[in-house]
Symmetry: C2
Subunit: 177 residues, 2 copies
């Protein structure tokens, strides 16, 4: 999964996948139909692990208000990009750009994950008292900023760029209610 995440579908060669999995071709083609199916499995895994984790965090009242959770998420992303020099970005976001991948079957998964993420933001906003329609609209704006930040993070994000972006997310939330 991490290899696809890092370098995309085409650039992830079969040899690279094999060494990353520490298996050889025999086992590979016993376990999977072809390269594409592994990619789809990687997407599913990302959905299960990362997206689920993010949505759970956004919906976890123990982490503070909805506002706190959303800003906390963005803070963690910026922190990872700045301090540990994380250049992976968001696999979902990368996959949406990567046209070579999945051949149609990927698109449904991508849209489903996008909806889950949007739902996570909306949930957090509703916890702060926003009504459904307004929460959805703001959530979508935040989602879009989220993807944008992940894109920027992939190409090297400066610290002040990150803080400015997060500041705007903050304003997007605080305006309402």
């Amino acid at each position: 999964m991490v290899l696809f995440w890092d370098v995309g579908y085409e650039e992830a060669s079969l040899a690279g996948l094999l060494s990353a999995m520490e298996i050889t071709k025999g086992s590979f083609y016993k376990a999977f139909r072809d390269k594409q199916s592994v990619y789809l499995a990687a997407l599913d895994r990302y959905n299960d692990k990362v997206v689920s984790g993010t949505v759970a965090y956004l919906g976890d009242g123990a982490q503070g208000s909805g506002r706190d959770r959303i800003l906390g998420l963005f803070g963690r992303i910026a922190e990872a990009a700045l301090e540990t020099g994380d250049r992976l970005g968001c696999f979902l976001c990368n996959a949406m750009i990567d046209k070579a991948a999945g051949g149609g079957e990927a698109e449904a998964r991508l849209q489903a994950m996008t909806r889950r993420l949007e739902g996570g933001f909306r949930r957090a906003l509703e916890d702060d008292g926003l009504d459904e329609d307004e929460a959805r609209a703001v959530a979508r704006g935040i989602l879009s900023t989220y993807f944008g930040l992940r894109v920027l993070g992939r190409a090297g994000l400066s610290a002040d760029m990150a803080t400015d972006c997060i500041g705007q997310v903050e304003r997007l939330i605080d305006r309402v209610g």
Copy 2:
């Protein structure tokens, strides 16, 4: 340029480039050093044509207020994605995700284009009377939303998603001043 824009660096095969350019290998390798240099040239071309056009539009007072221009830009993007089914997205945005491309030389160009785009937004906001610091911060938030919208547009953007995103950009602008 359009081929790289559409399918990315790796997926754009030499044969595809040749037929797109309507030349053969002989002329190709006389005109360019290798595939990577063509990619960089395509990035430069995108900068010259598209980014320059966008920045010019954002700075053109004849197109209305800065607010009008920014919202006009987003409107045109959404319109293209929805009506004509444009799945190209933004070459700059795609290239930032596409890690295979450019090998270090691309990164400087990408950051330069990003700064130009940010400057375009900032200029439009300053025309509406925002001071420099505030304009920069808002511009960066808008830039991030811009990239996010382009990502969403690549994977099939619904009409209400687009209107909600643009609505949040509007709120981001209107809050200030």
